[in-house]
Subunit: 275 residues, 4 copies
Amino acid sequence: MQTIGVLYNPLVPATAQAGERIAAWLGERGLSVWLGTSQSARDEPELVAPCELLLALGGDGTVLRAARVGITHTMPILGVAMGHLSFMAEVTEESVFEGLEVLLSGGGWYDQRTLVRARVLRQGQEIYNDLALNEVLLSRRDVARVVHVSVAIDDMPLTSYRADGVLVSTATGSTAYALAAGGPVLDPRSDSLLLVTVAGHLTSLPALVLPPATKITWTLARHHPTIISLDGQWSFPIEPDDQIEVTRAEEICRFAHVYPQAHFYQTLTQRLRRQ
Amino acid sequence: MQTIGVLYNPLVPATAQAGERIAAWLGERGLSVWLGTSQSARDEPELVAPCELLLALGGDGTVLRAARVGITHTMPILGVAMGHLSFMAEVTEESVFEGLEVLLSGGGWYDQRTLVRARVLRQGQEIYNDLALNEVLLSRRDVARVVHVSVAIDDMPLTSYRADGVLVSTATGSTAYALAAGGPVLDPRSDSLLLVTVAGHLTSLPALVLPPATKITWTLARHHPTIISLDGQWSFPIEPDDQIEVTRAEEICRFAHVYPQAHFYQTLTQRLRRQ
Amino acid sequence: MQTIGVLYNPLVPATAQAGERIAAWLGERGLSVWLGTSQSARDEPELVAPCELLLALGGDGTVLRAARVGITHTMPILGVAMGHLSFMAEVTEESVFEGLEVLLSGGGWYDQRTLVRARVLRQGQEIYNDLALNEVLLSRRDVARVVHVSVAIDDMPLTSYRADGVLVSTATGSTAYALAAGGPVLDPRSDSLLLVTVAGHLTSLPALVLPPATKITWTLARHHPTIISLDGQWSFPIEPDDQIEVTRAEEICRFAHVYPQAHFYQTLTQRLRRQ
Amino acid sequence: MQTIGVLYNPLVPATAQAGERIAAWLGERGLSVWLGTSQSARDEPELVAPCELLLALGGDGTVLRAARVGITHTMPILGVAMGHLSFMAEVTEESVFEGLEVLLSGGGWYDQRTLVRARVLRQGQEIYNDLALNEVLLSRRDVARVVHVSVAIDDMPLTSYRADGVLVSTATGSTAYALAAGGPVLDPRSDSLLLVTVAGHLTSLPALVLPPATKITWTLARHHPTIISLDGQWSFPIEPDDQIEVTRAEEICRFAHVYPQAHFYQTLTQRLRRQ
């Protein structure tokens, strides 16, 4: 590796400081470093493009924003937790240098994470199209408490219900919001799609684990102000007759790993207990 | 009984029409009738005051608004379902006359529903104070996905977690939003308070059934735009250091019943299946 | 207090040793001590009868067996945890002397726990009648996986389903098996009854919190080898046309407390995380 | 197709009668028919071997027993529901002839269902080895209420807990007992393994969706009488130091289908509501 990107969270000064320290450490080892925020990565894509690895310093939000950059430039992400344990971080601020040494010496490994794509069709025209690493969520826009949604699987009506929301999650997202909503945890290697209802009213639909080629379609059975949100970061308002289609994306996202595969299960229960 | 109120939903014309029919039927029997909306009930309290019974024509929202009127004037509510089965309605549009005959002839019975009171304290000053029949919900105000809340029971810290929200429900509310959030169903006669977390992240706190004299306090462990909402109808924005206290209210709400007590359990599973 | 009972678990030598130490400590303070097992308490009731307090040394099973002795002789129980935290123990082996000093000097307090009574009727005759502190469970007797049960509330049919089992729990039992089955936690002071289905198949019945005066009746809709078990300690085989009635018992059980009421909620989340 | 097997349930006379009718119908069309029970299929394997399709008349138990025959002889199964809707039946008693006509004329399609294999190792020796179509369940053998089990994923310790049981289910089994225990529904085409805890005590482990190549190992952290059961039909007692290994089987089971793939989701919610 010759060039490494380091992405920090502009709202958390400690991540910028950690970024400086890591950049210095990498510079001492003769590597070129790009240091910036997700905003600057969008503003100066030609500077980010040469990076062969992108460190994301901060919480899950920072990793999710880094993933966007990584997808665009097809570079792997190394999540660096700055606080408590996170499902998205491979190393912590303390173990980052150890981890970098492994990767720089050709060790470690890279996985491929499934992404989902959400499209919104309005009167037959696609008016929105974007990717998510964790999940696409359809939910109420404000305190009016319910979404009344109809769900179809591969154009076949499944059911309709009132709920706080409904989401399609990737395996990566199965430890995020989908878990809070009652879903199972999918192995990170899985390319299945996970459909989970959030606080469904008088519905007994369990979480569904769907094949990668499935198309999930949502339409509003009755309209209240509604939005879709992707990875809890980006959102788009939905109108009464819109059709929201969620599928597996052709793109993937790669994560860099220092620890063996089994590390996920070894640390799962600790993370579940927030320890 | 000499005077009866009939409250309809101004947004649903069918409820106004049903109101006219019911008013005519009551008039033929020599009764005085007040016919109006919850807004007009607030505008002309002296006209509503003489009512000895208040019919609520419509969905749960209409019954919740009627309950407010009923609490103010200490008159019982008769819920009249205009569409599908509801936990809050005693009779349907079809069976309303039968039900009224029972009540007018001195039959039927009246229960007492527990209410909750929510108070918001800002810098030691009470800045909000209101009643709910179903529940008080603390939740995110917009798509930023979590509330990070600390919960105390009788001033004793219980736990803190990230979640979509947290609510205190009455027995009446236990078949409403609290049920969608995973809570148990409380017998309508119960005066217990029910604490339920909505889509809690990495928390294993089950629903808690608390004694009527309990004070539940919420404070924000970390701030995102947050509101409390009462019965899903009325809401109030919460600031970072606010303290939200929820207790059982001194007031109660009375519901008129035509069917015996056991009717609740007899119809419970039908209602749970939305049949 | 002049006489104190100390009950240990004959299968756990450490509890007998702890019993000796506690008996010696009490003897030094001039108190009479009865030291024995639940079996010896049944064999020599006249020796146990004078006890004004009964210490239960061991796990939840020991406290449950002590409760039986305590109910018979109307004496309060002090649970002494010998291993990890328990919902039924007030003190640990380390804090037991401190706790006893509080109680012997007239401090502390005593609560009243609701009990449930299970009766089995066969051809109209009562053939079984016993008490439980935690719960009455109807379940399959062996690996044949389901019980097909009909449930009635106050003689009104509620629903029927296939499940691993169905239970009625007290508030005390709400932190035991009922919790594992998905029920809420009831405040220890509550006299409500809690109906919870265990691994119900294709049923959406939530946990029900019922008034103390409720009678719950179970009958087998279809017969497989089935038993009822009380507190997981005592069991009775059920025949095809038996009727199992569960009600709140007239008897109560008293627990001695050293810490204030709020201690329950203060330690709840620790206990939920098995810490 | 020239030879067809018809398997009925000897305990349900109606299935034998339906078997006779179907055999007659097939005979009229010039096909050879083997008609028998799962016992007779085991007793006279040479008679069953020529069958190119095996009809299973009855409930899920009959389909599970037919699957065993089908796996041995690598022939597909057609489930024929004799009562209410089942997840395992493709046709009903009413629609069976229509379905057969489709299949006999070369229509319909055949899927491949993942199976799981359970092995029990005692002192390093394999003492049990068998297949399941739905699930392998480790559970208490009698009313002693808990199994205290340690779970490992690919030889990496995951967690240990007390529970009624723990199971590994296939996609096929995800609509059976795993669903009652709180698991998600997996698409029938999925080859993932599903790990679900049954009534876990003080554990927050969600259901896990594991890759097909995963090995799940169970050992008893503390011994109570314990068994494993396969498909709720066959069981084996477990001793204290036994090691139970569950993996995906090399064998598969084929199901015959008359309706398109989408039929599964189309009927899912009906079946979930037991309609």
